[in-house]
């Protein structure tokens, strides 16, 4: 399990765009927490790769090129660990 912490500028479709990207790039989303204000938002996603060949740094990089995203950081998680 890995945790992606994303800071973003709120915009129509931003959450769907980010979550969709993570799923399409080969990850199962296990947990989501989002917080959005007028001047910024944060999204925390716990993900698991669908196959062992996936490197979470790659999907972090792809999130980072979305227009609304201002930063992405990674935190390793163990399956079942408390949030």
């Amino acid at each position: 399990m890995e945790r992606l912490s994303i800071e973003f500028m709120p915009a129509e479709g931003a959450l769907v765009r980010m979550l969709g990207l993570v799923e399409r790039r080969g990850y199962v989303i296990r947990k989501v927490a989002a917080d959005e204000h007028a001047d910024g938002g944060s999204l925390i996603i716990d993900v698991e790769p669908r196959d062992p060949g996936r490197r979470v740094q790659v999907v972090a990089g792809q999130l980072g090129r979305l227009i609304e995203v201002t930063s992405v950081s990674l935190e390793p998680r163990r399956a079942g660990s408390p949030t």
């Binding site: 969709g20 990089g61 090129r65 227009i67």
Partner: protein, 564 residues
């Protein structure tokens, strides 16, 4: 960064105007000359505002062609091609073209009409969530909910489409937003941050280059996107490093440059694949380790260290983790790679392989041998020509046998592999570069996917030269069924094709048919000597295959060759 059109306009004393008028003014401000589109209900306010503007609208006969023509326009000019469609089916018909631009990183702005705001989400007539449908295939997208935002959103869309790694941007415009009359908000766009070069990585890269004994330069479509051909050529010349290109990289270094070994990969040149297999340093410039280029990834350049240069940081390490990754402006980075390796013997061996495995054109029989025809046509057309391709066997023959001295001379659907790309792309290329000789190479399967665009060619008297290579089959599928599905030929027969010359004639386009190789020289002369649009229908042997070929899931050096 210099001021963009958006930063200097509109004037603070902007007057009230309808949303549709603001759309047209925004496009004019961005320097748009041509728009490819098709009208319909929800986009009618914009069509109403188009009359009397400086914008030249090209009425296609299917919205997919609008998007594909805009794609080609963007590839040639480096500026976003613009396509316009109504809501619902008009918008969904754009989807393939938008995806095509996304996969090949082409700047595009796609504008769709939408039902009025009160009807959004009610399953109204011709309502579809095109914003949601296209989320995975756009660089970015907007649904305009305030008419005042139109100038800003268009300015952002054009900037997003062109900066960094280019791509398509969708703007969905509800009908009532287009009819409302407002005073627009002023535009304020922040400057794009410029990332500093990683000096430590530059130093490591130079050290690796300096000590390499068998380096290869592997470049792709990112070179053309960054307009970095000059820097790439200068780097290749000062280092003497042998080079190979992806399908989309062709033209980055001229085909006939001595150290250019050809296209690599599934249908690549054997010399290119052998060089990759033997290299000890792979310098990847604007390429992405695509499976069609690498074959089995873990056997691709198996002994090589990798330096990866790309305009998009997310590409570095995506499929192969490099020893050195350098993200940023390719010209700036290439100019800083100044080490020169002592590789005269290696380069000489690569050139010898290139000569040894050069393509043969002495095919048996008297029928038209498509690779020979394409080679002769390319030589006769010269450096000023632009080739647009469809997808299939002919696409690979163009890549293998035509010569390109600039990337914009070879417009091909590399990532998505869109059958039907060729003719609309030819339309876009002619309008983008009217002085060029534009030649579309198509196949009988692909041609029928956008055959209606012959009407567009006729309407605007676009001097497109179409070479339709007809094997009365879906040739590439048939080739794979022959080689990898035990000759179980399934649904590849197109022997009931129409008479393509008659089809062209019915659209008012000059056309002729050849089926013998002795007719090729006259056919080329007629094609290139005709001032208007013309179609040359070429019947070929349906059993002809594309060689060489790397079987799926194999190393690139396990190439199958033709039998003669």
């Amino acid at each position: 960064m210099s001021a963009t059109a958006a930063q200097i306009a509109p004037a603070p004393d902007a007057k009230a105007a309808s949303g549709a008028r603001l759309v047209v003014e925004a496009l004019e401000r961005e320097g748009v000359k041509h728009i490819f589109g098709y009208p319909g209900g929800a986009i009618m306010p914009v069509y109403d505002a188009l009359t009397g503007s400086s914008l030249k609208h090209i009425l296609v006969r299917h919205e997919q062609a609008a998007a594909l023509a805009a794609d080609a326009y963007g590839r040639v000019t480096g500026r976003p091609g613009v396509c316009l469609a109504t809501s619902g089916p008009g918008a969904t018909n754009l989807v393939t073209g938008i995806a095509n631009a996304f996969l090949d990183s082409v700047p595009m702005v796609a504008i769709t009409g939408q039902v009025g705001m009160p009807l959004l989400g009610t399953d109204a007539f011709q309502e579809v969530d095109i914003f949601g449908i296209t989320l995975p295939i756009v660089k970015h997208s907007f649904l305009i909910r305030r008419t005042q935002d139109i100038p800003r959103i268009f300015a952002e869309a054009f900037r997003i489409a062109t900066t960094g790694r280019p791509g398509p941007v969708l703007i969905d415009l509800p009908k009532d937003i287009g009819t409302a009359v407002v005073v627009p908000d002023e535009i304020e766009l922040a400057d794009e941050p410029v990332q500093p070069l990683d000096e430590a990585a530059i130093a490591v890269a130079n050290a690796l280059i300096g000590e390499a004994s068998a380096p290869v330069l592997y470049f792709g479509g990112g070179v053309a996107i960054a307009r970095a051909e000059s820097a790439l050529r200068a780097f290749a010349e000062r280092t003497g490093i042998p080079s190979v290109a992806t399908l989309k990289g062709l033209g980055g270094i001229p085909t006939d440059a001595p150290n250019f070994l050809g296209m690599l990969g599934m249908h690549g040149a054997r010399a290119a694949n052998i060089a990759i297999d033997n290299c000890d340093l792979l310098i990847c410039v604007g390429a992405r380790f695509d499976d069609r280029a690498t074959g089995k990834l873990d056997s691709f350049a198996p002994r090589a260290k990798v330096i990866h240069l790309d305009g998009d940081p997310a590409e570095i390490g995506k499929l192969r983790v490099p020893e050195v990754g350098l993200a940023g402006d390719l010209t700036t980075i290439l100019d800083r790679l100044t080490a020169t390796p002592p590789i005269a013997g290696w380069a000489s061996r690569c050139r010898a392989q290139k000569a040894m495995w050069a393509p043969r054109y002495d095919a048996p029989g008297q029928g038209v041998y498509a690779p020979a025809l394409l080679k002769q046509l390319s030589e006769a057309a010269g450096d000023g020509a632009i080739f647009t391709c469809d997808v299939g066997q002919h696409q690979m023959w163009v890549a293998q046998h035509c010569r390109f001295s600039r990337p914009q001379a070879h417009l091909t659907s590399g990532g998505l592999g869109t059958m039907g790309f060729g003719v609309p792309a030819g339309i876009g290329a002619i309008l983008a570069e009217p002085e060029a000789t534009v030649i579309t190479i198509s196949g009988d399967g692909s041609f029928m996917m956008n055959v209606q665009e012959l009407a567009t060619i006729r309407r605007y008297r676009l001097p497109l030269k179409i070479v339709l290579i007809d094997n009365s089959q879906l040739g590439m599928v048939r080739q794979w069924q022959e080689l990898f599905f035990e000759e179980n030929f399934s649904e590849i027969d197109l022997s009931d094709n129409p008479d393509f010359s008659e089809v062209a004639h019915s659209f008012g386009i000059e056309a002729f048919t050849i089926d013998h190789r002795s007719e090729v020289p006259d056919a080329i002369r007629r094609l290139l000597g005709t001032s208007g649009p013309i179609l040359c229908h070429v019947r070929i042997d349906p059993r002809e295959n594309v060689w060489p070929l790397v079987p799926p899931n194999s190393s690139n050096v396990q190439m199958m060759e033709k039998g003669w």
